[in-house]
Symmetry: C2
Subunit: 468 residues, 2 copies
């Protein structure tokens, strides 16, 4: 039945780009090895026109499509299911930067461009593309946009959504929508761009994007500061926002246990401050000069120290020290993996509610699971915590995950909802949280989403079973 | 036939809030008096629940609804048609600020709140709500969001869209979607918020919004500068962006004729600089101090003068002088109205294309209509020009408008499209540009828009005949 489709796909993209045999695990399995499926074929088109032709061919045969970029997602949104009936559409061959316009501060890139290569292309022009996240060396901009990726500079520059001015999309009907305008203002109709961004490939396939660039900052300052409580971490955020304004580009928080884990598993990493219940990583970007940046940054930390908001601070004196501070922060998920399986969360809350959320949820979890350990860290400036749960010391992490994950999630997500938060801040829904979404999202919102899905993808062939 | 509906509406919102007789021109006519209709009734609900009940009643009777805020729109999007069959739904009684959360930098306001009252509420907490436009004393936040309003600070803070974190919406079925989350990150499904923002009431009715606030700047600097050409105006923008970064909050351009008109009709307004082909208004917001702001701002202007990018500059020394400079800029549309009827445009282009667009379009228009006068001004920092056309001196402005508007628009919009621009940057589509949109927008985009409209408003009762 599918021979005819495969013949058409081969005729469209060439035999070398239709993979049906051998080891396809690079496409069929996610990098965390939590999701594994089997594809009818891995198809690798080389142009937008080829993507459109592939979509039309699949539509004609009623064959579902799963688009994939760098396959670095965390929610099982970009690997096929186990049916062997889905075509895995890899966008990695669409990897040209089509244009860069320094006077308009825009860059147009194809979906398969690696995020880091876009950062580098901008930097070569003295400009900044500020989207930055751990997977930047292998994730693609198409995937970043399809999942509305967040990262470490959202506080100042926004999510992937806010960094995109225009899109090129292949619709479920295999038509090409050219919405690649490099415009800051455009009120000609519904906001199709933002509908496709974050839709995880369930409405159409992003093939290219026009992105916002910024001038490179003249200086960047980084510091670690210990704070006595989450309340004081929020107070420090407010103080930093008032004093640095848009100069505050990073504000990460890490609890004591998360840095303990880094200390245990990566003892070679120097930790410039003594252990504390909470440590904050601050980053300031300055448009003027090193001297100006330092004066402003040290003024902030002195004022915070004087007010008792922080108990200690270490300012990076060199770029190397700055990288080492960020490296500490980025080592937390790795240290956690070394410690054993764990239950991950990616939640967001109004910043004002975070201290109460953390206090009451910590208490509720510890009461039910004595000795349970919390790896609590994240982008406090955006209200986004990776509030992860590790089994009590001495217990089997695998058993705990298997037996308690659902119950732990219920406690955490109930608390998130009670505080006006979200169960997915930056990782998306995919397959992992699809059922949770139905339970947690308002029925009116779900109804609107289903109506839109039905209107744009009436055959239900675009990444089915994900999100909805 | 409609007695039953009117009885239901009276029972829902009270007889005092269902207006069917007397002078209803405040609701039935737009403020520029270009659009005038007749409503079946003007209905003024006092709560979200009442809005939902009104929508359900109208849906049951197949009666179309036209939502209206402050009725300050420019494209005929919020007055009823002439049929006498449409219910005009006024949101002005939904005028409570429901909450303000300084630690989360958010404010939740009902749709009928006047923009200025929201600015004032934020300011009373030492915070800034940066949406700012000429109609702010009478426009409502619901209308601002429904039309994705722009204004004078988009360069730094974005359009109304970028200033909104969450919405409450009454759907076409009369259900209430509570999406009022005050979250910077939320990847739980399709971006319904941005779909309703800018949809001009054609998909549902915005009843409340959670808005972003910012710290108040410590100092604001304003200057006028003359530049020899549009090329140099763009060069000044790039220089200012590089040196001030996010501190650059305003960058307006005005051609010589637009300031000549202000000089002619408002001679009492002092113009600090001599006439020039182009004049730029710059605004810088600083998080530090007056002294720091001045040093940075004057440094920029000196560098620009030295490089020949500007020919002269005047920096406001007092708040009064700063207001006077903005007042000059804001007087252009009024001076233009004094001069007579004219053909207005609200276009956007990639900033890098503006010099070529202006040069070639000026030439094309002048060749075809010798003596034609261009009132060219706008938000150059956003690539948004109000490229308005006034009849040649001595000709009847009314005749010119009547006879030449379509031909002039064709020349201008053809050029806009050729340069990758938009025919509506910040004013929207409404009734005014609906037909133009079909001609200019890609058929694929129009198809997607119609599919969404059909899915969310299958009976076609939400602001029919607007946008689509």
């Amino acid at each position: 039945m599918s021979t005819e489709l495969l013949d058409t796909l081969v005729a469209t993209v060439g035999a070398a780009n239709v993979l049906t045999g051998g080891d396809l695990s690079a496409w069929e399995q996610d990098w965390r090895k939590r999701f594994r499926g089997r594809a009818l074929a891995v198809v690798r088109p080389g142009s937008t026109a080829e993507v459109a032709a592939v979509v039309r061919a699949c539509a004609a045969h009623g064959t579902p499509l799963v688009p994939q970029g760098g396959n670095t997602g965390l929610v099982g949104g970009s690997v096929p299911d186990g049916s062997g009936r889905q075509v895995l559409l890899s966008l990695t061959r669409l990897n040209r930067v089509r244009a860069i316009d320094p006077a308009n501060l825009t860059l147009t890139a194809e979906a398969g461009c690696i995020l880091q290569s876009i950062q580098d292309t901008a930097e070569a022009q003295g400009l900044l593309f500020p989207l930055s996240l751990a997977a930047e060396g292998s994730c693609t901009i198409g995937g970043n946009l399809a999942s509305n990726a967040g990262g470490t500079q959202v506080l100042r520059y926004g999510n992937a959504r806010e960094l995109c001015l225009g899109l090129e999309v292949v619709t479920a009907q295999g038509e090409v929508w050219d919405g690649l305008a490099g415009l800051r203002k455009d009120n000609t109709g519904y906001d199709l761009r933002d509908l496709f961004i974050g839709s995880e490939g369930t409405l159409g396939i992003i093939t290219a994007a026009t992105l916002k660039l910024y001038p490179q900052p003249a200086a960047v300052m980084t510091a670690l500061a210990t704070v006595p409580s989450m309340e004081q971490a929020v107070a420090l955020l407010q103080l930093a926002q008032a004093r640095l304004g848009p100069g505050l580009t990073g504000f990460e928080v890490m609890n004591g246990f998360s840095l303990d884990l880094v200390r245990k598993h990566f003892p070679q990493l120097r930790q410039p401050l003594p252990p504390s219940d909470w440590t904050v990583l601050l980053e300031q970007s300055d448009t003027e000069s090193d001297a100006h940046a330092r004066q402003l940054f040290e003024g902030l930390l002195e004022a915070a120290l004087e007010a008792g908001v922080i108990t200690d601070a270490a300012v990076a004196e060199t770029l190397e020290q700055s990288h080492a501070m960020w490296h500490l922060r980025e080592s937390i998920p790795l240290a956690q993996a070394e410690e054993g399986l764990n239950i991950k969360h990616d939640i967001s809350l109004p910043v004002s509610r975070i201290p109460a959320f953390v206090a009451s949820t910590d208490a509720a979890l510890s009461a039910r699971w004595p000795g349970l350990r919390l790896v609590d860290f994240g982008h406090l400036g955006d209200g986004n915590l990776h509030y992860n749960v590790q089994a009590p010391a001495g217990q089997s992490a695998a058993d705990f995950l298997r037996d308690q994950e659902h119950a732990v999630n219920t406690v955490v997500y109930d608390a998130v909802m009670a505080h006006g938060g979200s169960i997915s801040a930056e990782h998306g829904i995919g397959e992992l949280k699809r059922d949770e979404l139905v339970e947690r999202k308002s029925p009116v919102a779900m109804g609107l989403m289903r109506a839109i899905k039905g209107a744009l993808d009436p055959k239900g062939l675009m990444n089915p079973g994900r999100m909805l």
